[in-house]
């Protein structure tokens, strides 16, 4: 039997979704023009599936900082910080991150995925328990495979279920570490963090919050759901990414925990991978400063969320329940979802197609992400185009007509 034979079912499934003429998981953006525009297949498209929440990928200061750092310090670090040493830039970014989050310690990872992988797998040992939300991101699921701890899942965003599971563990030795996300990446819903923090205190557990989608998006200072919910003091480790609101790539962890720096020589996904290049560190350092000093982007983002969410809601779509920069449009079946997604792209709108089993609902989703730089025009176009295509597939009803004769 050939080595990759066991993927036959996956190969068939992938072929089936590519039947529309293009592989939804292999879209080529020929040229990205701005945070909200690109050329695909020679056609201009509106980007609404890039997680570029604050539109910082084209911020002139971030670009200038990245270019200057590349010229001054070269294109890459060519190794890990443990083996090759840290650049002053890495240290500066870590100081800035600690300052931004008002924490004692900060650690930079090469991706957000690795930040979750490293922190979660390292902080809980063989006698400990990791208690994770059932809708956790793949990086959290992969972290538990790397971890030696016993892993228990609680029902998505169900604080009472978490409480029940911690109760079952009461009296057992071993640390209990709860892992949740600020904003869940598929449906855009937020963890009930105030209740979770209360449960964490009551059971003497630890709390890790992944603010990947909420950094720069929630909280007066953009520190995420912890700040927004007023429970930062209960969060032992904040994990995050530079690849969404900060417009680059990389991951972070901040904490007030004593001996935090031991993780630098214990956490394998930190130790055994090349550190971020100077250009990325420089653009992220600048982007963090933009988030810290300019809250207008966050305000614009949420105004745009209102426009797109309300527009789709009024059109009759079934959406994720909580308004967020991730707007999930529920669709009935895979074939319709793939067709609608493809027709949208042809009509100049790029969103993400999410198919089971990668969706928590077991049904397909069109996952739209909103950007602070989307113009009202662009958002209205997205609503109009999506409405027309969905109507032609019978997913939503025809426009309401006046009933007056």
């Amino acid at each position: 039997m050939s080595l990759l034979k066991r993927f036959d079912a996956l190969i068939q499934a992938h072929k089936a979704v590519s039947r529309c003429g293009i592989d939804p998981f292999g879209v080529k953006l020929e040229r990205v023009l701005s945070p909200t525009r690109a050329i695909v297949d020679g056609r201009p498209v509106i980007l609404a599936g890039t997680n570029n929440y604050l539109g910082l990928t084209f911020h002139p200061d971030c670009i200038a900082a990245a270019a200057e750092a590349a010229r001054r310090e070269g294109t890459g670090t060519t190794g890990s910080r443990i083996a090759n040493g840290s650049y002053a830039l890495h240290k500066t970014l870590e100081e800035r991150l600690a300052g931004f989050f008002e924490r004692r310690h900060a650690m930079v990872f090469s991706t957000g995925y690795q930040a979750n992988l490293g922190i979660i797998s390292t902080i809980a040992g063989p006698d400990d328990y990791l208690i994770i939300d059932s809708d956790s991101h793949a990086s959290i699921y992969d972290a538990i495979r790397l971890s030696s701890a016993t892993v228990i899942r609680f029902k998505h965003n169900d604080a009472a279920d978490l409480d029940k599971r911690l109760h079952r563990l009461s009296g057992r030795p071993g640390n209990k570490v709860i892992v949740v996300e600020g904003i869940y990446s598929m449906l855009g819903d937020q963890a009930p963090l105030r209740e979770i923090a209360e449960i964490k205190r009551r059971h003497g557990a630890y709390l890790v919050v992944d603010e990947a989608h909420s950094l720069g998006v929630l909280g007066e200072h953009g520190r995420g759901l912890g700040e927004h919910a007023g429970v930062e003091g209960d969060i032992d480790f904040v994990v995050g990414t530079f690849s969404k609101s900060l417009g680059a790539v990389g991951g972070l962890c901040v904490s007030d925990m004593d001996d935090f720096d031991v993780l630098r020589v214990a956490c394998r996904p930190y130790m055994f991978t090349a550190s971020l290049p100077p250009s990325v560190i420089a653009s992220v350092t600048t982007a963090l400063e933009v988030v810290r000093t300019d809250s207008s982007r966050q305000q614009r983002l949420w105004r745009n969320v209102d426009t797109l969410y309300d527009g789709l809601d009024l059109s009759g779509f079934t959406l994720g329940r909580q308004k967020s920069p991730v707007i999930a449009v529920h669709l009935p079946d895979q074939e319709t979802a793939v067709r609608i997604w493809y027709e949208l792209l042809e009509a100049g709108v790029y969103v993400n197609l999410a198919l089971p089993p990668a969706t928590p609902t077991g049904t397909p989703l069109l996952r739209c992400s909103v950007c602070a730089d989307h113009s009202r025009d662009e958002l209205e176009t997205i609503v109009e185009v999506l409405r027309a295509i969905a109507q032609s597939h019978g997913v939503i009803g025809a426009p309401a007509r006046s009933v007056r004769a």
């Binding site: 016993t150 892993v151 899942r153 029902k155 089993p357």
Partner: protein
Amino acid sequence: MLEPHNKTGVPIRRNTDIMKDLDVDSLAVMDFIMNLEDLFDISIPLNAMAEIRTVEDVAEVVLKMKTNENGL
């Protein structure tokens, strides 16, 4: 509890392989496990899930969790 997920309609026995014989996807297995956890007031660690293939495996894990002092 398993019957609603059964896509092939084959009768469910002790040695039925849940994913293979009933064509139940991993998401539905998780739902089924969570319902079991509620029913028996236990938590089945994800670490134990790798060993579960058949209906009998499920019963053994539940029994272990319910009786063994290592049960959760």
